[in-house]
Symmetry: C2
Subunit: 298 residues, 2 copies
């Protein structure tokens, strides 16, 4: 199995980056140009765009078309939530990270106040995009907003980051570690899949299958991140490798050992693929992305 991202992945990445820049750049003269510049800096960050790509692949699995323009706004919305979380996580009071994907993190390239405000603004923009998403019914839009807001908030991403910060220098169990990552990373990945499903009018059983797939690849994603933090080098990762070990954060590698963590990632991949059993070939993009998440080298 190749380590290269699947074709679907490469095609979607550029489309999403272009759409994101369009969303963040504004013609509105009341908006400060300096604030727009800082927002664009974060949009053009070379991210993998895994969440919006999963959103598109989920719509495809349900019978939609991945290049359906109605997916653009929701795809940007989930990526904006992810981008804002990285900006805030990098702040000195949080993970204090100077480097993000090979470039200075936003508070280093600008300043802390700008980083806090750009993050806050991107979160608001995500919900604006969903509220105004063209071609979707009002009911689809509120269902998407519900999924994204819950995933982004204290019962999701924010709650997971809080537990992560609190558990630095602590010994936690594998169950606690999984809960933390389910919230911090898993919730938004799961919401991205669900939002793609909602866009393609998935039924409850299909949404449930996407949720299960999301649970598995969300955790797999984090297990692989922990493995790469130990095995990767800073140049390939685009962030400081060994950072989690240095900060004395709990990781899968610490709890399971390197071989144990790799076996866990493989087990999660298989469970993810099992969850898609009832889907036909239309879910092949989802299957490819799941394999890529586990086999990537950065």
């Amino acid at each position: 199995m190749s380590h290269a991202p699947p074709d679907f992945f490469n095609q979607s990445q550029q489309r999403i980056t272009d759409a994101l820049k369009g969303v963040v750049a504004t013609e509105d003269a009341t908006v400060s140009a300096a604030l727009t510049d800082a927002s664009l800096y974060s949009a053009d960050n070379g991210g993998k765009r895994i969440r919006p790509i999963l959103l598109q692949a989920a719509a495809l699995a349900i019978g939609g078309e991945s290049d359906d323009m109605r997916l653009d706004a929701p795809a940007c919305a989930v990526e904006l939530i992810h981008s804002y979380s990285l900006i805030h996580d990098d702040l000195p009071a949080m993970d204090d990270d100077d480097l993000r994907r090979g470039k200075p993190s936003l508070h280093r390239a600008f300043d802390e106040a700008t980083a806090i405000l750009v993050g806050d603004g991107l979160q608001a923009k995500a919900f604006e995009l969903l509220a105004c998403a063209p071609g979707l019914s009002a009911q689809q839009r509120v269902s998407m907003i519900e999924a994204l807001s819950v995933a982004a908030g204290c019962a999701g991403m924010v709650g997971g980051q809080f537990i992560d910060i609190q558990s630095t220098d602590c010994t936690i169990s594998i169950t606690q570690l999984q809960n933390m990552h389910s919230l911090k990373t898993g919730a938004l990945i799961k919401a991205s899949l669900r939002i793609g499903g909602i866009a393609a009018a998935a039924n409850d059983a299909q949404l449930q299958a996407l949720d299960t797939f999301g649970d598995c690849i969300g955790l797999a994603f984090q297990v692989v991140d922990d493995i790469l933090d130990v095995e990767g080098d800073t140049a390939t990762l685009g962030k400081t490798s060994g950072k989690d070990t240095e900060a004395n954060k709990p990781t899968y590698v610490k709890l399971l050992g390197l071989a144990g963590a790799k076996a866990e990632a493989q087990r999660l991949l298989e469970s993810a693929l099992d969850a898609l059993e009832s889907f036909g070939d239309s879910a092949d993009a989802l299957r490819d992305i799941a394999r890529y998440i586990v086999q990537r080298d950065h």
Copy 2:
């Protein structure tokens, strides 16, 4: 005219504070208890609740009932956005304020990381509340989310705070000052009124009248804040008085003088009342609140 808040104001305040605590407290076992505690600290902050009260009064003006339970979720949503903005504004990298309404600001009572995350979580919760608001159509809910997200973002509150921080130690014109406050304070006040109007099924002309009223009282609110920053004392204000002068921030009092600022507040009050001309007695609560905003002493 008395300086006391109108009856409507007092009745609504307690209802909103109770509803907010209910919203922020969660039964969800995956949410960290420490994060919930910090969120509750911010909900129980003795705020005036002007935005949710305006939302209720706007619904009343359109023919709704101010104690309609369908207003509770939207009322909490606008207050949560306001609360999160105060938490982030108080951070050391922003206004660096240790005191908020007579109590330690959130990052002083807890820590900076908690303050960033609580703010982020409250913003997400605001949109979740609107997406799930009972008794309102999906179209009403997406219209509310559109209004709130635009008002909260870079073309609104976040953009205004960014300009505010950039203009410290700068000389700016009265037009620039008004633009800054229209974004920073006015946008959310205007959105609160509009959301109350949407809840009561206002027509476009009525929403337009509420917008004009909101523009005037939003600015009036800020002019009075600047006056109180000079005239008030720390005990009555519950925050450090003279703070804006000390930080060398542009204010209406600096640009217009104390007497000029007072005349401007009065002029804005009259324009606000004019905007309500086509409304009958049902808009009396809005009129009372407008007078209170201009005549309050804290």
